[in-house]
């Protein structure tokens, strides 16, 4: 029985505009689908970077507590092992992040360690985790270009979220519909819309912070052109402490344990979060101790000491402007590294949801074409190589990193991805669905193999 009464249109924009917006949603989503999917997939895995590092490097100590003496021992040992002009950054264990880590860096040099509870250092060179993080933040392209492309992807995702909502007049009517197993298009549309709508605040936060992180270079460049005749350092200087005046004379290291204890006393409401030693062993050395309060997302307490151990600068939440707080919190919000394993799992699940939203968007388009008698079998096969092929390729790089740690992973990933896409594109006799099934089986096998290799080594 058909209902002849016309339903009242209650959406704020006209049906014609909804169709235009839906068309723009479609165009934008398809244009950026592969890269949005890749960035979301790598980002979802990167949320677990601290855990992956430990799996990748067996025997990594996980300090639950680090005394001042142990922290000082770790810093002194790192100073001994690194070039004199490196900066040393020690992150203390906290409820948000189990284990203490230490990184020494200067332009063109970086070394990472895990710190045991007694302050001894263990190398923490997790090559696959590092490969994954760089794939997420700059696609292994030159940092500014790669960052810009990832930032642009964030903007495209933001735009897709806005157009997706505007083009969804049945948002209330279908709010809880999840019809599986019937028509492919309806099933994918339900998944796409329900996951997109119910996790919208998360998706929006992720897209905005990701876009901002990626576009930061271009924003700074534009502002410096406008305000400081192109001098980007003046924009950065607003957010960074000015470097101390150069004095390269060699001096003994001060009593770091005593300085950390002194800083702890000066920021009674905060727990020590990190210690940074710049220009260690030089007369222009600066030691910064940062503290984090339990209710705050980012560190807002800081005490700085000079080479003699005299306190030269102190900062507390009341001294920090909103802009600096927001800027510091962007990375924390984006990666979900602010609340420990529970938040990481939640971010992982929601990141996976965003991958499904992206993937189902393409599947809907492909199914719509098929329904209208204009199937695109080659695109169906190519999408299977992206959607299911990428997890397999990432797993293969993890296996490669285990078997041949010296193999450069970025070129290996590019080669495997290209082979997967080209092969699927030319396999005319296979359907996209069949190839997707093959990829899923491949994913199970590759995941199992990677798990056996890494967990086996860790347990053995």
């Amino acid at each position: 029985m058909s209902n002849t009464r016309k339903k009242r249109w209650r959406w704020p924009i006209s049906p014609e505009t909804v169709r235009s917006v839906l068309s723009s949603h479609s165009v934008l989503g398809l244009a950026f689908a592969a890269i949005i999917y890749l960035v979301c997939l790598t980002g979802t895995i990167a949320v677990f970077a601290p855990d992956l590092q430990r799996i990748e490097v067996p025997g990594t100590p996980v300090a639950m507590h680090l005394s001042e003496a142990a922290a000082a021992r770790a810093l002194t040992e790192a100073v001994r092992q690194t070039p004199s002009d490196s900066s040393i950054y020690l992150t203390m264990p906290s409820p948000a992040k189990e284990g203490a880590t230490l990184v020494a860096f200067k332009p063109g040099f970086e070394r990472n360690w895990a710190v045991a509870e007694d302050g001894t250092l263990s190398p923490l060179d997790a090559i696959w985790t590092e490969f994954l993080i760089y794939l997420h933040i700059c696609l292994h392209l030159p940092r500014s270009w790669g960052g810009f492309i990832v930032g642009l992807t964030g903007v495209a995702l933001l735009s897709s979220l806005v157009s997706g909502i505007l083009a969804h007049p049945r948002v209330v009517r279908d709010a809880f519909h999840l019809r599986l197993g019937g028509s492919r298009r309806l099933q994918e549309a339900d998944l796409h819309n329900r996951l997109g709508v119910w996790a919208l605040p998360f998706h929006f936060t992720l897209a905005l912070t990701g876009a901002l992180l990626g576009l930061s270079t271009i924003i700074v460049a534009g502002l410096s052109l406008l305000l400081y005749r192109g001098d980007m350092t003046r924009v950065y200087a607003l957010f960074l402490d000015p470097p101390p005046a150069i004095d390269a004379r060699t001096v003994p290291m001060p009593d770091l344990a005593a300085l950390i204890a002194q800083a702890r006393a000066r920021m009674a409401e905060a727990a020590i979060d990190s210690v940074m030693v710049e220009r260690p062993g030089r007369a222009d050395m600066r030691i910064s101790v940062h503290g984090r309060r339990s209710r705050h997302l980012v560190v807002q307490d800081e005490v700085q000491f000079d080479a003699q151990g005299a306190a030269i600068h102190e900062e507390h939440p009341k001294d920090m402007v909103v802009g600096t707080r927001v800027l510091s919190g962007i990375g924390q919000l984006h990666f979900g590294w602010f609340g420990g394993p529970v938040v990481r799992v939640a971010y992982g699940l929601l990141g996976l949801a965003l991958c499904v939203v992206t993937s189902s968007g393409v599947t809907i388009w492909l199914a719509r074409r098929r329904d209208r008698g204009r199937p695109a079998p080659q695109w169906e096969r190519i999408w299977s190589a992206v959607c299911w092929g990428q997890p397999v390729v990432l797993m293969l790089t993890a296996i490669l990193a285990f078997v041949y740690p010296e193999v450069p992973l970025a070129p290996a990933w590019l080669i495997l991805t290209t082979i997967a896409i080209v092969l699927c594109a030319v396999m005319n006799r296979c359907s996209g669905e069949y190839l997707a099934r093959l990829w899923r089986r491949g994913l199970v096998v590759a995941s199992a193999l990677a798990a056996v290799l890494y967990l086996g080594r860790a347990l053995y």
């Binding site: 934008l28 903007v155 735009s159 007049p169 197993g181 329900r194 909103v322």
Partner: protein, 194 residues
């Protein structure tokens, strides 16, 4: 954090559960259930902001409640028998995208509008905010920076949806010229203070 996360997950389940109960009623939505559902969801966000921390708590609440709510959606899923093509009957009155004949020049122009020109216009507006907004320079820069992706995203949505390409071009070019002009002027006048 574990206790807060579980509480917020439960709040997401409860809030979405109440909303679903109202949504399922054939005789129309029940205002009490609607108010209860939204009350639980919003109340839990406020409570998390108060107890865990304003930003940390809100972020945690939005993530956990989203998962809890999707749990309700998943719980209420229905299994249908697969058919060759049944997209028309169920949910078949969902809007379809406009089918426009593809013209290369329109595609190129739209790409330019949504990409470089949209970015320029968004940048012009964001930098105007940075230059003219009162307050500390760092806060103004971060505010402008956060506005840039939002405005660019909106420009993308609009230019890709608007079929009058000349209008979109004129608006974006005008915004860019005017915005950068004003921002540059303001930058010269107040550059030293920033």
């Amino acid at each position: 954090m574990l206790v807060a996360s579980l509480f917020l997950l439960a709040a997401g389940v409860l809030g979405a559960g109440l909303l679903r109960t109202s949504w399922r009623r054939r005789e129309g939505a029940a205002p009490a259930l609607l108010a209860g559902g939204w009350g639980v969801l919003i109340g839990a966000i406020l409570l998390a902001g108060w107890v865990v921390g304003p930003v940390k708590g809100t972020a945690l609440a939005l993530a956990m409640e989203g998962i809890g709510a999707f749990g309700i959606v998943w719980h209420g899923r229905v299994r249908k028998v697969a058919r060759e093509r049944d997209g028309k009957g169920e949910g078949g009155d969902a809007p379809e995208p406009l089918d426009e004949p593809g013209r290369v020049w329109r595609g190129v122009l739209r790409t330019l509008l949504a990409g470089p020109l949209g970015m320029t216009a968004a940048m012009a507006l964001a930098f105007c905010v940075t230059v003219y907004m009162p307050g500390d320079a760092r806060t103004r820069i971060v505010t402008g920076g956060m506005l840039l992706p939002v405005l660019w995203g909106l420009a993308m949505t609009w230019t890709l949806a608007d079929r009058r390409l000349l209008r979109a071009t004129a608006v974006l070019v005008g915004t860019s010229v005017l915005g950068f002009g004003l921002a540059f002027l303001g930058g010269i006048l107040s550059g030293a203070s920033t």
